[in-house]
């Protein structure tokens, strides 16, 4: 990595909830005070959400200084409750949100059913074939219930329209408020002053039924929409639901105590029994087991863990029992960070959405102009009864043009798409990454930790004639138990996986740089390099099968560890960074999907070439012995033809290349889950996730396009119909009630289309 200028570290970002902001001046003032604080890089104060997002250098400044700055500006930072954004608090938050949404849904349903019932009753009264009661009297009869619905069910539209109007804007609520008010106000006028209407040569007909049915149908649409939208956040709910509820804390000299998750602190020793969910992140200290992490990584196979291994909260212990030391709790756990990342991505705006936002901004005023023009045109040039036609067309245009389907098209698809991806262990950093990933044409893999496992492992064992592999491993792993060397640890880990390497050891000696020597079960065991054996005058082997094994295993980035027992060469352990079993399939499927796959690595040419051949990447698309800066240069070269290039790396050594690529994909395993530097993180590191991520992106974009097409097409087709375009030829004029129904259907269909992504592969 390049040297860093000065003492600064990677900037971090925090969100401060600010109390007391009321106006733009408040925003400016807080912004100003935060900015003049040393170490602050970027400030974004939002009046609507009452939050200040601050990017700063953690070496120079911390949260307390930022809180003081806000305080000096005259405002207050709301104290954080408990640990803040933990998975636990999230669960409580989600439950509260659920309750709130259910209450809101109930209100919507009651109001909508009430409005529709009143509308039907009004229609029945007004159109019942009878002549005994004059129209003027009937009008007075329906005025009361219609006005009640206007005030009760229509209130939310008025208040929302008013809020928007105060900021000089108009929303879909404005359209509903204006449309229904026009119908209601004219009807009240005709009821109270029928003489004036008669004088104009018209029957005092009223439109109370139109106003109430529009309110009823739109509320019904909102109810359906709210129900469907509740399901878009299912993925988050499922992730949060993964966590354990409590932990068994080990107390010295006493039985374990069961404590709630919130009470667990870093450093606590916790016991996990067979079949239980691991409560928080930590390091295993005693016992061994295998852990099923499929809920976080999508990887089906449980992974063996032994002392020293990292365990992740919310994954499930399978058969063994073990004790681990908690390292990260609360909002620092991998699960909490994943949830936070997904939530942030779901709330972010895709570039495509900024376009629709701008369209909606001019759309509503434009509709009002069109509706007014329609009204005037019918009044001036239309057939009799002119006022009736003009009013009907005006109301229909205003009601049908509600752009809410447009407003829902992108965010619902983004929320469902990122949630679905998260469940498959694919974390998009934001909506822009989700949109961009589908356009990738070239995928560049780094070797370490992406196509290979990223750590030395015993990949082969060969024993001399007369010996057997498991005895060899048992003795070698026992001898290496005290070793600190990565290769020694690899041997111990492999032994523990096979439940070997627990024999009594005495006389352990570490032979710096060459190996170890120990007495295991009364036998003198020597484990180390070829040179170690030569120094001890032990012939590597006279055994022909061992010589052959040495010849085939040599080279290609492999390390041979020799084992001698009682002064005689007994066999070899082949150590390598093994290819992930999924890698060849990952490369093959990407290639089959028309994506160019490259391998760029810092390793030696022979190692890289062997790997490329094993996973099926052609030699012309392989580059070896490349430094991190060189990797970025190669990415830039590949981007030359306007091609969209994704780089898959481990997120630490590959930072410049990840940044240069259009999409930086980080492999996140263990502690590195949710790598911030990347656009996309594959939890668990299955390289097949790359194609899956690109596919999910494409499907999400397709759904967004479909949504936008339908939302716009619907307006383009129906606004002219509502204006009366079909009237001259076919005598068709849209009924305002049908306009309201169509509007509701369009919103619901957009949300339903987005929900299809929940089942995306």
């Amino acid at each position: 990595m390049t040297s860093k200028p000065g003492p600064s570290a990677t900037p971090i970002e925090i969100v401060l909830p600010v109390v007391g902001m009321t106006c733009a001046s408040c925003v400016n003032r807080i912004d100003r005070f935060l900015r003049k604080t040393d170490g602050v890089i970027e400030v974004n104060v939002n009046l609507a959400t009452e939050k200040a997002t601050v990017r700063f250098d953690p070496v120079i400044v911390g949260r307390p200084e930022l809180v003081r700055a806000v305080d000096a500006a005259g405002y207050e930072v709301r104290p954080e409750t408990g640990l803040g954004h933990t998975a636990q608090s999230l669960e409580a938050e989600l439950t509260a949100e659920d309750a709130e949404r259910l209450a809101e849904q109930r209100t919507l349903l009651v109001q909508s059913v009430g409005a529709i019932a009143v509308a039907v009753a009004i229609m029945a009264v007004m159109f019942w074939p009878q002549t005994s009661v004059p129209l003027e009297t009937l009008n007075w009869l329906v005025l009361v219930p219609a006005t009640f619905i206007q005030a009760w069910g229509g209130r939310r539209f008025y208040s929302a329209a008013w809020r928007a109007a105060r900021h000089g804007s108009a929303t879909m609520d404005t359209l509903v408020a204006i449309g229904t008010s026009a119908a209601w106000a004219y009807s009240v006028f005709a009821t109270v002053f029928p003489g004036v209407v008669h004088a104009a040569g018209l029957a005092p007909e009223t439109y109370f039924d139109s106003a109430t049915i529009i309110i009823g149908l739109i509320l019904l649409g909102r109810w359906l929409e709210a129900r469907a939208k509740g399901r878009t956040t299912d993925a988050i709910r499922r992730l949060v639901g993964l966590q354990a509820k409590s932990a068994h804390r080990i107390v010295a000299g006493a039985p374990d105590e069961d404590v709630p998750l919130e009470a667990v602190e870093p450093g606590d020793l916790l016991r996990v029994r067979a079949g239980e969910t691991i409560p928080v992140d930590g390091i295993l200290v005693e016992g061994s087991s295998s852990v099923d992490a499929s809920m976080l990584t999508g990887e089906a196979m449980p992974v063996g863990v032994a002392p020293g291994a990292e365990v992740i909260g919310a994954t499930r212990n399978t058969t063994g029992s073990f004790v681990f030391r908690a390292t990260r709790v609360g909002r620092d756990t991998a699960l909490a960070r994943i949830v936070e990342l997904v939530q942030r991505a779901q709330g972010s705006k895709a570039p495509i959405e900024r376009i629709t936002d701008r369209v909606i901004e001019v759309f509503v005023p434009a509709v009002l102009v069109v509706a007014a023009a329609t009204f005037v045109a019918w009044l001036v040039g239309g057939p009799e009864p002119r006022l009736t036609f003009a009013l009907t067309a005006f109301i229909s245009v205003v009601v049908i043009a509600c752009p809410c389907a447009m407003g829902l098209a992108t965010p619902t698809a983004i929320i469902v798409g990122t949630g679905r991806a998260a469940e498959a262990g694919i974390l998009f950093r934001n909506a822009e990454a989700l949109e961009q990933a589908g356009r990738v044409e070239v995928v560049v893999f780094d070797k370490t930790g992406t196509l290979t496992a990223g750590k030395p492992t015993v990949v082969d064992i060969a024993s001399a004639a007369g010996g057997d592999g498991s005895t060899l491993l048992d003795l070698a792993a026992s001898a290496e138990r005290g070793s600190e060397h990565p290769i020694g640890r690899a041997i111990v880990a492999r032994g523990h996986l096979d439940e070997l390497g627990f024999r009594p050891v005495s006389g352990f000696a570490s032979l710096a740089g060459h190996g170890v020597e120990a007495d295991v079960d009364g036998r003198r065991v020597l484990v180390g390099s070829a040179r170690l054996l030569a120094d001890r005058a032990i012939a590597p082997s006279a055994d022909p099968s061992l010589i052959e094994a040495i010849a085939t295993a040599g080279g290609a980035g492999r390390t041979l560890v020799f084992v001698a027992i009682d002064g005689v060469a007994a066999g070899i352990l082949v150590i390598a960074d093994p290819i992930r079993p999924e890698s060849p399939e990952a490369v093959a499927t990407l290639t089959a999907a028309g994506i160019e796959v490259w391998l760029v690595s810092g390793d030696q040419a022979a190692t890289v070439a062997a790997l490329a051949q094993a996973v099926g990447i052609p030699a012309v698309r392989t580059r070896a012995e490349i430094q991190p800066a060189g990797k970025a240069a190669i990415i830039a070269e590949l981007q030359a033809g306007q091609r969209v290039v994704a780089m898959v790396g481990d997120g630490i050594n590959d930072a410049p290349a990840l940044a240069q690529a259009d999409i930086g994909i980080a492999i996140g395993t263990g502690a590195e889950i949710a790598v911030e530097a990347s656009d996309l993180t594959l939890v668990g590191g299955d390289p097949r996730g790359v194609l899956r991520a690109l596919g999910l992106s494409r499907q999400t974009i397709r759904v967004i396009r479909q949504n936008l097409f339908w939302a716009f097409a619907y307006n383009v087709v129906l606004i002219p119909v509502a204006m009366g375009a079909l009237f001259p030829g076919f005598g068709i004029l849209l009924n305002p009630a049908i306009a309201a129904g169509a509007m509701a259907v369009s919103s619901v269909s957009v949300v339903t289309n987005s929900l299809r992504l929940r089942r995306a592969a």
Partner: protein
Amino acid sequence: MTNAPDPDPGSGTAVDPVCGMLVDPSVALARNLHVRHDNRDFYFCARGCKLDFEEDPGHYLDPGYKPSM
């Protein structure tokens, strides 16, 4: 919109001279968002505006000053 602060608390609303928002003087008084300057009463929507004003009243009373909202 006027830049002049409303000097009369009895009228029901006053204009925050910093941001131009309409403020209810009784609410502002209750929250200590009130300043007496040059024998005139000024009411503010929040502490930030009040502090801004106290730092440099002349700037906000200048007829050329436009509230930022």
